[in-house]
Symmetry: C2
């Protein structure tokens, strides 16, 4: 790249999370950084947007090296929409989201605010990457993955991404020397087996907490789950054309238009 690329950074853990600060530190080495991120944690908000409530946006100053940094009362997808339409003077060259505190591999991609922000950027025609580390801890160590974040980001800036494709990158929780490499993978078939933890308010009313256990149903060795379990960084190309093209022939054999 001749000119410094313009990079939009967001996340779903909130603008003060160590994960986004680590991501910002890497992006500052690569380009001009603009940050628009939620003012509070927004994990598992999926592709939610705020249409029945108001949005508050505040210019803030966490990092003196960054001129344009805003917190937003909305969801990660709101942040991307607001950045692109109200803050940025031109379309950014890249949008990166994360680093998420916790996995967004396999089916988690669909619940993830981090990935939904990246997907939203993709819908708006911006090359986009979501980064996640398999460590839910607030004090997770992001140092071991910084070099790989930089490498993947530079490859995207150099090669571009196929139209309608966003990268979902997950890092195993390992020391840098123990990471075996980077693998391009497909999304594993997996799901959450839910359990609802039933409790009572002090006033005797029942309420529930959603909890669950992750179940990988996919024995393939080409999946993100396999790669992560075996010490690799997983890179899954993700699309927002949800059409199951392979199912169209079957549906067209149905008697939908007979009386």
């Amino acid at each position: 790249m001749k000119k410094k690329p313009l990079i939009l950074v967001t996340n779903d853990d909130g603008i003060t999370a160590p994960g986004i600060r680590a991501l910002i530190s890497v992006m500052k080495e690569i380009g001009e950084v603009v940050v628009v991120a939620p003012d509070s944690p927004q994990s598992a908000t999926g592709h939610a947007i705020t249409i029945n409530s108001t949005l508050f946006i505040n210019k803030i100053d966490i990092d003196p090296e960054i001129e344009t940094e805003y917190s937003c009362s909305g969801t990660p997808v709101d942040c991307v929409k607001f950045a692109v339409n109200e803050i940025l003077k031109r379309k950014p060259d890249l949008c990166v989201s994360g680093v998420n505190h916790g996995s967004n591999s396999s089916i988690n991609v669909i619940y993830s605010g981090t990935m939904s922000a990246a997907v939203e950027a993709g819908i708006e025609g911006i090359p986009a990457i979501g980064f996640s580390l398999l460590d839910y801890n607030w004090n997770a160590d992001f140092e071991p993955i910084k070099a790989s974040i930089k490498k993947i980001t530079l490859e995207v800036l150099e090669n571009g991404l196929p139209e309608g494709v966003i990268l979902n990158v997950n890092f195993p929780k390992l020391k840098e020397k123990d990471i075996k490499g980077i693998k391009v993978c497909r999304q594993a078939k997996a799901m959450w087996q839910e359990r609802f933890d039933k409790r009572q308010t002090p006033h005797g009313r029942d309420y529930y907490w959603l909890t669950g256990e992750f179940v990988n149903l996919d024995n393939g060795e080409d999946t993100d789950e396999w790669a992560l379990e075996h010490g690799y960084i997983s890179v899954v190309p993700v699309q927002f054309d949800l059409t199951a093209h392979h199912a169209m022939q079957t549906l067209n054999s149905w008697k939908l238009n007979n009386d």
Copy 2:
């Protein structure tokens, strides 16, 4: 079907919305109906789930013909998870979501709480359909589409759905006699061009409302947008494997593992 099928009904407009009441009235003709739906409007919540807040679930009695009807303080996806794990004694034969007041065609599928509920059922291995009518009005007329809802539902119960496939069904706002038929379609390439309506609180603080204009970028005659504009009911098979399989070769040509 020999035995009456067990049908889970949900939506994102809330349990009292005319759309879900219309859907329930059709499903009562087909099977045993269980309703678990949000206690308030949850439009555009996407695939959000409630993990940082508590869930309240209340047994309610809107329709005396239905034994099992619950309202839930969470999102449409929470409703499906709670129904499957806590309320239903066996896996339902079908989950239907809607009828949404407003379109969930093309890219709207990704923001839609209605479709996310159906997709969640799909993830849990339940055949699922989301229904939407292109009329945002609370008093929209659902009578003209009831016969087609029944036809599509019976076809799904008879044929099953391919694994990992959910149906996204949208109805044009037309009289029954003016509906031309049912078309199996792909998701049109479209997006929202956002505009943020800036206002001030009575105390002088800026805030915003997210608004926007829908832009169809796709001239194909095989899309859901084309079908709806031309008086057809659109049926798009939707999948939750988001892997862009066609992009994997390209990514594998990158220098991701070189030093």
